[in-house]
Symmetry: D3
Subunit: 245 residues, 6 copies
């Protein structure tokens, strides 16, 4: 069940049987020569949607621009400053809490979001902690790529060249989700370099085509389908446990 | 051409032939008994996408949660505080300007966004105006429903019951975009009441099912198709003029 | 009755018979070769003051610097960033609400304030909408130049050259209010150019002497008196209706 | 010369002979049973205006709502949060600096503004200090009541009952400036109590009619005239020295 | 009793006998050729610690970086923008109030903190003043160097060359607290120049070695011991009176 | 070499041989029945100080209050909201960068700081990434307890009851640093419970005496000395590598 395709009476009815919601959260940032700028938003979106359809939980709209300042050296990347992200995530939380949601699960597609989203959670809890009242809701952030079993599966599928940015696994998921957007691009070197992440100029200097340690030419829709299937099952387990907690 | 389905080299190539981009901006808020919570995001998104495909301009990700505090009385509505929206829109602008975009056209689907987005534009221009340097980019906000010819078409299609919120025209556009999400709901009274917009409690009191002055039971995918076709043509004209300006 | 010339016991007494107040809100910005920098503050101030004296309602201090970044290319213009204006208007609102005012009517003199003041209102209502409590007050923004009948009167008085900035009507009102500040200046061309408003450098390039589409050499105190008289009557009607609402 | 009654070419001409401006800054807050809510804005405004007329310097619009949270227990008082005041004062400074002003002298009428205005100055200087560039402008805050000679004069005029809030000296200045607004009110006790200033509830408890240590029944327009005359002369000396510095 | 060396049950027990706490607040900024960068934090810290040990009151952690933008021209100086300091001080206050502290006494070591800390207090009180509820706590700021008797003592000890920054008295206190950090440096001129404080570049130009009007070569640990002893006694008196108030 | 015990000429001299600095960053929060509220600040402070003395690098003042909203249920805990922490850390960074520091290494003592400090770094880099200029400095966050070899050592020293909050290892380090502050307290159960961290009320409910999974009764100054010795050596290696990078 997708919130943005539901009417308010349908959400009202849903709230009578569940107080939980899943929010896909991603980023709009370069993903190398053959990866989509929307990769980090598309991945959690498709996994959450399929899981929500199968298990009957509600999936909110995708928070599609995250914290990606280090990618600004590559055309098309869009970022929020961390302070803006914290404010925006809190507005989303406050809105959902207003309706009675008590379990808000963010399914994340972007490593750069982890710190600011966790900061946003601490900002949200702070209001209650200063007041001394018990906070009536629980917040959870989980990356789709660290869901139970996914790292093992990916390692098996891509024993070499998974890397850490513009990975064959995430590109596969987007090719599965958007088969018409597949791109065939020569990449050299085959395996991208690795290193630390700082500002945009430093990043572009270290990682000239945007990839970090990866060989995404291995990506395919079929591989994406396999990953999504596994992630969907893992997500359902996690979400159901969280909603019950 | 959609940014989130493009790679960065594709956007880099696009920037060699155009410096303009269209950003759909909407809201996630109740749209009456048979309207989708995502209506105001879906409408500009589908119109911009079809226009972008036809005319070859770039369409960015959809800014899908806007300023909708007055709808918080209805489950599923999500809002940004205006101050958050201003910060977020400025981060999007700053990111795009970083890449060399000089014409940023926001295609809007929600009346409540007009004031804060225009405030965001003034905030963006302020930096240049204080500095005294000429701002290198131009910003434009246009609602899809006030594109040339659309009001006349809609008036012709819905001589009665267009109203101002949860309108048959916008619901039609979403039914065209998401035919599986159509909902058949009895509404009473046929024509919703009208009145001013203030806070959420006041809104829910005045407009018990969320509609304002409208009869969206007239909506259909076919009508949506007709509106989208007209809006697409109008948008192409507007965007091309703006990019040339 | 003017708040800043009243004592607190007088305001306390006023609150026993009325919960409404009018706040003139303007700007400090260039108004062409013969217009005063304070035009947009002086106009609503004089109209509100005369109306308040006649009808007995309370008029607050004038919010005299607004959102005018586009005028910074002309010496003397002062602006608030929109985000600052939103914070300041909310502090004024919160102060007045603290005393029991439930109807706050902003009489505006500057087009550039419309978006940020409406954003400020949405920010103010947001607190209540998130909480779910009914907001105990109502906010209203009205421009003096769009009060009932004013546009028609102005069109009749200045069939040509009213334009949209540094207009003969607003300059007339200030000449009526501050007769000693009249200025006689040759202007060329007689009718100023028109065009869009962006940042300050762009504005100064398009509108070299600050006017937009206007011929304010037609201004006179007598014409100002006639406009103020009409606006005063219109304002009293609007305010009384709003206070009763 | 008053900025808000000048045109931009007049300010442009002024800037060729002087780079200095005086900004009256006050507050809108209760001033006891017979004092005006606008007292702290009216006092610096009238003194600056008369001094500016005599000495030919430019006087900007009055910053008329300051930091007065402790007076919110009395109807009509309006305050900015200190953080808002800091932002607003910085926007005023940035605007004036944009035009080439290099000496900005704030003539203050309210003790509660001293801390936040000085904080605003430090915030303004901080930008330059972090950058390492020399700041091209100087900021100065002076209270009209601490101008050279004023304390002595006031002590002589009101050997008893000057107190520290709603003083006979400031009420006299407003009666001189606004003779029609004089109020005759019995006050008891004759001398108001004294004590510390904290939040609004505490203030109202300690100072039931708003006065602190004062007997403003001694106020008169004639006394106000004498004070204004002395303050005007003192201000001219101070301002001329500052503009030359 | 020092908070950071106590356990929470010990603080819980303390709160049963007292609701007051002392927070040393200083700055990290240049203090001339022989003064420590931590001078303004070390002085109130050592005085508060010794007083707290003697009198049994609780001393919180030291707020060790304050508002010192004007010292940024000298290596090692660290500053908070005033707006940051206001936010941080409010977070400290809110935390302590959460535990039931009702008297929070800031012992200050730096003149530049006075305006922003008082602004922070006004910001803190504002929340209560807008709400209309009585604020349950009292805040107090006192400089160690203006405690009763200290100015006289210092004048006696340093009849010449006390000055106003990098003073022999404060350097003495730090030499007493950190005898190993004493520095012997030739300074010329013996007495540093005096003047106003603005931005960092201006400061470094006026005061080339960082001192203002002082001759800190007179400093010694023995003199520091004498000052601390006097300040400790004065502080105990002040704190006990404040906690009882 | 400690910044707060140095003079500015000493820091100036240091900058000629090194552009790196270490900032201990901690928290003020409950650490169970026998742990100090200052634990998380004291640990990185003592380790950084000893390492700095041995290896000759500069150690800045300790950032002693961090992000600890979840501990507000225990008396004495003090927290910054994450948004405040981000602003404050950026002010520290901007100050140090102003002096020419290009390597800023934060040695952290508190898990709750990781997300907001990393967010602060992203906020800092964002300014450069938006501008497109290469950022001239590098920022690094490392926890003392995850320095190379420390986890292994701790596991060996405390095979049972290390837990994750109020651990015997951190309490040992503070007992080594502040032997007079040792506390002997019965704790029951011996091993504290474990679980997730949310708001303060939830935390106090789950972890009644503040500990998570730990048995800090094993702490001793001797064990602390051993840990500090190992951490000192590890830190020197890390810092030297970072300064060279």
């Amino acid at each position: 069940m997708q919130l943005h395709q539901s009417s308010w009476p349908e959400v009202e009815a849903y709230l009578k049987r569940s107080r939980g919601i899943v929010i896909p959260i991603g980023s709009t940032e370069q993903h190398g020569p053959n990866g989509l700028l929307g990769t980090d938003a598309i991945c959690p979106e498709v996994i959450a949607r399929e899981a929500g359809e199968e298990a009957g939980f509600l999936v909110g709209p995708t928070f599609n621009v995250g914290s990606a300042q280090h990618h600004l050296g590559f055309p098309g990347s869009i970022t929020l400053r961390p302070s803006t992200l914290i404010a925006a995530v809190n507005d989303w939380i406050d809105s959902l809490v207003r309706h009675g949601f008590t379990r808000i699960y963010f399914l994340n597609g972007h490593g750069g979001n982890i710190a600011p989203v966790n900061s946003a959670f601490a900002e949200s809890y702070s209001a209650w902690s200063f007041d001394g009242e018990a906070c009536p809701y629980q917040l959870k952030l989980e990356n789709w790529f660290t869901l139970p079993g996914i790292q093992d599966l990916v390692k098996e599928m891509f024993p070499e060249g998974e890397g850490s940015h513009a990975t064959p696994s995430e590109v596969s998921v987007t090719y599965y989700a958007c088969p018409d957007a597949q791109k065939s691009v020569e990449m050299s070197p085959k395996l991208a370099p690795t290193g630390p992440i700082r500002d945009a100029a430093d990043y572009r200097g270290r990682f000239p085509d945007g990839r970090i340690g990866s060989d995404p030419s291995q990506a395919s829709p079929e591989k994406g389908a396999r990953i999504v299937k596994a992630a969907k099952a893992a997500l359902i387990g996690e979400v159901e446990a969280f909603f019950r907690a």
